[in-house]
């Protein structure tokens, strides 16, 4: 794990770190959400970690570091190209896969504990290799009072969502589980997949009410998945995110609060509109906590010189 000077053409002063780029919520390479994982970077300062994440340019880069708290198996720090995050779903799932692939830790009774900015979080591990599923317990989602009218207008559905025409549909809600997601239920899978939101209008609505983005969803029938989801974050320069852990956790929390979960354990589909095909596993445990998980594929394996 110790960084060693590169034997190749790395410039003087550069160090080599084990590196994986994995695909999260993917049952084959290229179908999920990429994540870069850098090991052994404890010699680098925060500015260097941020610079690496910015240069790599992925939605998130995580750094696996020695633990500082008893009970943790490893510590991770998560960076977007712009900032550090205390917690995020897809980096947690992908990093757990990466540390297991690297043989750094072994699960105990199918469990791991990750130390991150949000504290110690439990992970549940099932299976091995490309069939391995990792689940992380998501922070609790809390509804924040807000007016959905501007967000609904950006979805081309001003005023129509709360009418009596669809009495079984949930009302739109702003759910805060770290990020703040507008959760908006649409009529059916085709409505979700065919949606073409007005992204500039959505970005204005998000900035106005302090929301992170908009997660639209619908229940599905006759599919291997019970839910279809799309997530838009135009205010942060991301028109649409391919597969989004926290948006799923927010939707699951809102479904649970309304006793509308399709099952205690089910799958969700996201990303086909972007050429991906992510599958997210959602479960609610006996204590009512929401877990999100899925498979991860190792796509790139090597070393990073910095």
């Amino acid at each position: 794990m110790d960084p060693t000077p590169s034997p190749t053409a790395a410039p003087p002063g550069a160090c080599d770190f084990p590196f994986l780029q994995v695909d999260v919520f993917a049952h084959a390479p290229g179908l999920g959400n990429p994540l870069a994982v850098v090991f052994g970077a404890e010699t680098l300062d925060t500015a260097s970690l941020q610079a690496i994440a910015t240069w790599l340019g992925l939605s998130e880069t995580s750094f696996v570091l020695p633990t500082t708290q008893a009970g943790a198996d490893y510590r991770l720090r998560i960076f977007t190209p712009r900032q550090e995050l205390p917690f995020a779903g897809h980096p947690s799932v992908g990093t757990a896969h990466a540390v297991l692939e690297q043989g750094i830790v072994q699960p105990r009774d199918g469990r791991l504990v990750q130390e991150c900015g949000a504290g110690l979080l439990p992970l549940r591990i099932e299976g091995e290799g490309t069939a391995r599923n990792v689940h992380v317990r998501a922070p609790r989602g809390i509804e924040r009072p807000a007016d959905p009218i501007a967000v609904l207008a950006s979805l081309g559905m001003a005023g129509s969502i709360t009418t009596a025409a669809a009495p079984t549909r949930l009302r739109p809600a702003l759910i805060d589980n770290g990020p703040r997601w507008w959760c908006v239920e649409l009529a059916d899978e085709a409505s979700v997949r065919g949606l073409q939101p007005d992204l500039p209008a959505m970005a204005r609505a998000n900035r106005a009410d302090g929301s992170t983005g908009v997660a639209v969803f619908a229940g599905c029938t006759d599919q291997p998945y019970a839910l279809v989801v799309r997530a838009f974050v135009p205010a942060d320069g991301i028109p649409e995110d391919p597969v989004t852990g926290s948006a799923h956790a927010a939707i699951a929390a809102w479904l649970q609060a309304n006793a509308a979960l399709p099952a205690a354990c089910f799958q969700s589909s996201q990303g086909r509109e972007l050429g991906r095909d992510g599958i997210v596993a959602i479960s609610v445990d006996a204590e009512g906590e929401v877990w999100i998980g899925g498979r991860t594929q190792t796509v790139i394996a090597g070393r990073l010189s910095w």
Binding site: A10, G30, A51, R303, S305
Partner: protein
């Protein structure tokens, strides 16, 4: 765009996964993090066009190249260049960075070039193109010949609207519209501090470049610095405003314009550009003028070295 997988054929993934050598290269810098990233998949035999496009969308690097055995006996290798959304016939920074990756991996060896020096011959959508190699190790520089440049119009140094947009007074030569394959509006400022201190007004830049059918605005100044001769910023009004940290195309077009319009006397036939510090990078580009043509190049370093399994 990639065709989304259908419900009946999710993912459309077929065939066994194979480990191919992979590098993520930082182009126009000798130090990791200073330049413009490029993903390079070596050993790309057997990947079809749709799969290459999917990989380039997934890596999400500005460009991803795929190295293949050449069809022509004169070429060192063949490469295909993809952005996350489409294939390009040619681009400068992917050509320079791929040559670096090929040399690092021992995929091809330098050979004598027809015009002198040693280098590699790349086969790409634009034909056979030479890449010139000078120096060794971390001092190695790789350069590619740029397309010819045409001067379309000149705008004098007293252009008040342009000065107001840039918040700085223009050098005597002022602005110009040039075409080096793509059109750029270029504007010379009086000194390095004016260029580095510029806070781009991307809405104003959008209006300026649209009026001239250009893709961006290149601002630059000459400098007495020992480290570099020119400081350059390439500002593009895409996606709400993008500053290219290290632009081969903008710099090659600028060099062609300066040499073609008699403004390069103080620079000589080889000059060094500093670009990207304002966006957290520190790129170094070397511009050569030779027999009426421009070569753009610089150092590179491999940041990620490993394998890709798809």
């Amino acid at each position: 765009m990639v065709k989304p997988p259908t419900a009946a054929n999710p993912g459309a993934v077929a065939g066994p996964r194979r480990a191919r050598r992979f590098q993520q290269v930082d182009v126009f810098t000798a130090r990791a993090g200073g330049g413009n990233p490029l993903a390079v998949v070596l050993d790309s035999e057997g990947l079809d066009t749709a799969t290459m496009q999917r990989i380039a969308a997934w890596t999400d690097v500005v460009e991803t190249t795929f190295v293949l055995p050449p069809d022509s006996p004169e070429a060192s290798y063949r490469l295909r260049i993809f952005t996350p959304s489409r294939e390009l016939a040619f681009a400068g920074h992917p050509s320079v960075g791929t040559a670096h990756a090929v040399l690092q991996a021992g995929w091809a060896l330098p050979r004598p070039l027809a015009g002198g020096g040693t280098g590699l011959i790349q086969e790409c959508g634009a034909g056979l193109l030479p890449l010139r190699i000078t120096g060794e190790g971390v001092a190695r520089e790789i350069a590619v010949q740029a397309p010819p440049v045409a001067l379309l119009s000149r705008h004098g140094g007293e252009d008040a609207a342009l000065s107001a947009l840039l918040g700085a007074s223009l050098a005597e030569a002022g602005g110009a519209v040039i075409d080096g394959g793509r059109r750029w509006f270029v504007a010379e400022l009086r000194d390095e501090a004016a260029v580095r201190g510029l806070h781009p007004d991307f809405a104003g830049i959008a209006a300026l470049v649209a009026a001239h059918d250009a893709i961006g605005l290149t601002v630059f100044a000459r400098t007495p610095s020992r480290d570099h001769d020119l400081v350059v910023r390439a500002l593009m009004p895409v996606a709400g405003g993008y500053e290219d940290p290290a632009s081969g195309a903008a710099n090659a077009a600028l060099a062609g314009y300066l040499h073609g319009s008699g403004q390069a006397a103080g620079l000589g036939d080889r000059y060094v550009v500093s670009q990207g510090r304002e966006v957290g990078r520190d790129a170094r580009l070397v511009l050569h003028h030779e027999a009426g043509r421009i070569w753009v190049g610089g150092p590179c370093c491999s940041v990620v070295t490993g394998t890709l399994q798809w």
